[in-house]
């Protein structure tokens, strides 16, 4: 099974599955990580090292975002991003079963 990264692998049919639990992340023909869950919240969810600027230094709202495997909860993508932005980080990889 080829993989996209540490957490995302290709199933035999070319769909995306979680490499840790095998949960389906995107069926064939669906967009990248279409079936992932998303968790959003305050930037402090990233840990004690990420502070909300006080006073604020930008006039836009920013948030913590995390895409999760719907089966095992593994973090597939973790970011701090502008709330207004969607799909800031995407990937589209050719599923290959052999090198070449």
């Amino acid at each position: 099974m080829n993989r996209v990264d540490d957490n995302i692998a290709f199933a035999e049919d070319g769909g995306q599955v979680c490499s840790h639990c095998g949960g389906v992340l995107a069926a064939v023909g669906e967009p990248h990580l279409h079936r992932a869950l998303i968790r959003v919240g305050e930037v402090s969810l990233a840990g004690p090292h990420v502070r909300a600027a006080d006073p604020p230094v930008v006039d836009e709202e920013v948030q913590f975002r995390q895409l999760l495997c719907p089966s095992c909860g593994t973090a597939l993508l973790t970011e701090i991003a502008a709330t207004a932005d969607r799909d800031t980080r995407t990937a589209s990889v050719t599923a290959r079963t052999s090198r070449g």
Binding site: D5, V50, V57, D59, D87, S92
Partner: protein
């Protein structure tokens, strides 16, 4: 900033001219040495390797030469400079390992010079050209001043050598030429397109005076100029020796083969990686003092067959501020990332590597700005952010294949934390000093290793943090501490390298206060992003503590070693500010670590426990981000407790999440 074409400025908005056309233009005025394919093929493998290694060692010698001659701490201690050996049309065959971003556009400046200076004033033996115009090339902002020299063999232009170094001050309204109030380039150091400052081996005093007159530190900049002249002289002496021994055609044939070899090996690597497309965004908070806008650089990397296409479509329009970079900055962001990710075992010959790369950037955007946008921070703002987003996309690409996966590196030190001091030093002399401590940023995590703690910056493999004692000797500063900061590395299955912090006071200045220029992003959004589920590194924090009790504590024999011990009025620094630092003030700066790789709940609990003991992470992060429970006292891992904690954290994540597919697109 609206993009309005400025008549007369078009000449300087340069994109490299194709080689054949450039040879035709320059060839009318100067004879260019070249070799044909048969001569390249005729070089035997042993000669090739001997000459190739000699070329490489000459670039290293150039580094030693400039360090020995410069008097600027940013050069001698921080290694903020670099060198290149180029062929007759400016194609870079070898570059140094110092600040590789500085060599991203020196070829542009040489090519521009061939086009615009060959007829008038001419390119002759013994000439050297100075350039600090990032629209032409050379460096990424005005402080990066290039000095490059043609090398003639007989009556033919055989090659070029070039040196680029950060100059401590080249004028503009703010010390250090970091004009944080800049709304356009006229607030900043004057860009200087290539000018023949050395003619026939003689430094032209009239041009030198024009050059130095703009600086607050003319003696130091004059010394740096001579250091670069010396480095070019040294390189040309060595190249002449090489030509004398092996012949011009053989040396040139080796140079050609180096380029071909670099290209072929990079293409072979790319061919083994699945085709695909990766996108990411890099944010910057604020373009100048008083601005609270969030700026985006968007990158889509398309890998198809043996080629890479970096497409920056969607990047924000250029800003009324100092964060923009020119096309040189886009190249400055791509070059270091590609060299370190793909060329660990390939000659660092950018001209060969870049044959595999296509760039789409839009003039009028923050990473391809047009004249007269402000660019004085371009190198560490939009060029740096470009590097971040390129590194993130390359990491995604490399992660797809088992052979390339070990070369995945997360984003390193997401932004430069600048504190620039200027005033009178302890000897009563004027000084300008860029605090170079952020050179010890955290390196991004890899797919199989933690990032190097305080390992540096991705763009400068041989960058160095300046020695504290040398800093205190040179400038009126006294450090309370400089150290690694807990939790600053992005959490992940492999942790990003931690960054650090410095805390210092003004000490024995001949004046009661010094000028302080603050310029550092990553305060709203961490700029060291994670990869593959890894978390970003820390947000940056700069803080002045006014009227602090530190001196009273020192008099009583106590040195404060944490912010909690310092009493005074805390003033959080915005991303851009000009202010002063007085005798009773303390300045604290905490720069960023590297991004993490993979889910931190998958990190080996023993590694987290070790990090906890070493102070790399705090107990709070160990429990809440990594889900690791340790036994009180021994600090060893409580395996059952950790399993339970991680199950709880996963359940909490899922309980608070919603289907992604239900979100509406922007």
């Amino acid at each position: 900033m609206p993009v309005t074409p400025v008549p007369g400025s078009e000449k300087f908005s340069y994109r490299p001219t194709p080689a054949a056309q450039l040879r035709e233009i320059a060839g009318e005025h100067v004879r260019l040495h070249t070799v044909d394919a048969a001569e390249v093929a005729a070089v035997d493998p042993l000669t090739y390797e001997v000459v190739r290694h000699r070329l490489e060692s000459i670039t290293h010698e150039m580094g030693e030469a400039i360090k020995r001659m410069s008097g600027s701490v940013i050069v001698t201690d921080c290694n903020d400079f670099n060198f290149a050996i180029m062929d007759e049309i400016g194609d870079e065959v070898e570059i140094g390992l110092y600040n590789t971003a500085l060599c991203a556009a020196i070829d542009m400046a040489v090519k521009w010079t061939l086009e615009h200076r060959a007829a008038n004033p001419g390119i002759k033996p013994g000439d050297m050209f100075l350039c600090n115009d990032p629209w032409v090339g050379g460096g990424l902002h005005q402080n990066d001043t290039a000095l490059f020299a043609p090398l003639f063999v007989g009556d033919e232009l055989f090659a070029w050598t070039g040196a680029v170094a950060h100059q401590i001050d080249l004028g503009g309204v703010s010390p250090g030429s970091w004009s944080v109030k800049s709304t356009d380039v006229f607030w900043e150091s004057l860009p200087t397109p290539p000018v023949k400052i050395v003619e026939g081996g003689v430094l032209r005093s009239d041009i030198e005076d024009v050059w130095l007159r703009r600086s607050r530190m003319p003696a130091l900049v004059g010394l740096d100029l001579r250091a670069k002249i010396g480095a070019n002289h040294m390189a040309q002496e060595r190249l002449n020796e090489l030509v004398d021994r092996y012949g011009a055609s053989t040396v040139k044939a080796v140079m050609r083969r180096i380029l071909d070899n670099a290209e072929q090996r990079v293409r072979a690597k790319l061919a083994a990686i699945p085709d695909g497309e990766w996108s990411a965004v890099a944010y910057q908070d604020s373009a100048r003092e008083g601005d609270e806008t969030l700026y985006r650089i968007v990158c889509t990397l398309r890998k198809q067959g043996e080629g890479l296409h970096f497409d920056f479509t969607g990047t924000d329009p250029q800003a009324d501020g100092l964060i923009n970079c020119t096309h040189a900055g886009v190249r400055g962001g791509i070059t270091p990332a590609v060299l370190t990710a793909l060329c660990g075992d390939v000659p660092w010959a950018p001209a060969g590597v870049f044959r595999c790369i296509e760039i789409t950037s839009e003039p009028g955007t923050i990473n391809d700005c047009t004249f007269p946008a402000g660019i004085s921070k371009g190198s560490v703002a939009s060029a740096w952010a470009t590097l971040n987003v390129v590194q993130e996309c390359l990491g995604g690409m490399l992660d797809t294949h088992e052979d390339s996966r070990p070369n995945v590196t997360g984003v390193c030190l997401g932004s430069w934390d600048l504190a620039l001091l200027a005033g009178l030093d302890q000897r009563g002399a004027p000084f300008v000093s860029m605090v170079g401590d952020a050179m010890a940023g955290g390196f991004g995590a890899r797919s199989d290793l933690d990032g190097v703690d305080t390992g540096g910056m991705a763009g400068a493999p041989m960058g160095r943090i300046p020695d504290v004692e040398m800093t205190e000797f040179s400038y009126p500063m006294l450090y309370l501490w400089r150290r690694e900061e807990s939790d600053s590395g992005g959490p992940g299955r492999f942790r990003g390298g931690v960054g650090g912090s410095s805390c210092f006071v003004l000490h024995r200045s001949a004046a009661p206060a010094v000028h302080l220029v603050v310029s550092g992003g990553g305060k709203a959004i961490p700029q060291s992003s994670g990869i593959s589920g890894g978390y970003p590194a820390n947000t940056q924090l700069d803080l002045a503590i006014r009227g602090a009790d530190v001196r009273a504590k020192l008099a009583a024999g106590h040195i404060a070693t944490s912010l909690d011990e310092i009493v005074g009025q805390r003033e959080v620094m915005p991303p851009h500010l000009e202010t002063v630092l007085g005798e009773e003030d303390v300045y604290y700066m905490a720069w960023q670590g590297g991004g993490g790789y993979g889910d931190p709940l998958l990190r080996d609990p023993a590694a987290v426990a070790a990090d906890l003991r070493a102070g790399k992470v705090t107990a709070g992060a160990a429990a809440d981000v990594y889900g690791v429970v340790t036994w009180p006292g021994s600090g060893t891992v409580d395996a059952d407790g950790t399993d339970e904690r991680r199950r709880t954290l996963r359940a909490d994540r899922l309980a608070s999440a919603t289907p992604r597919s239900e979100r509406s697109p922007r």
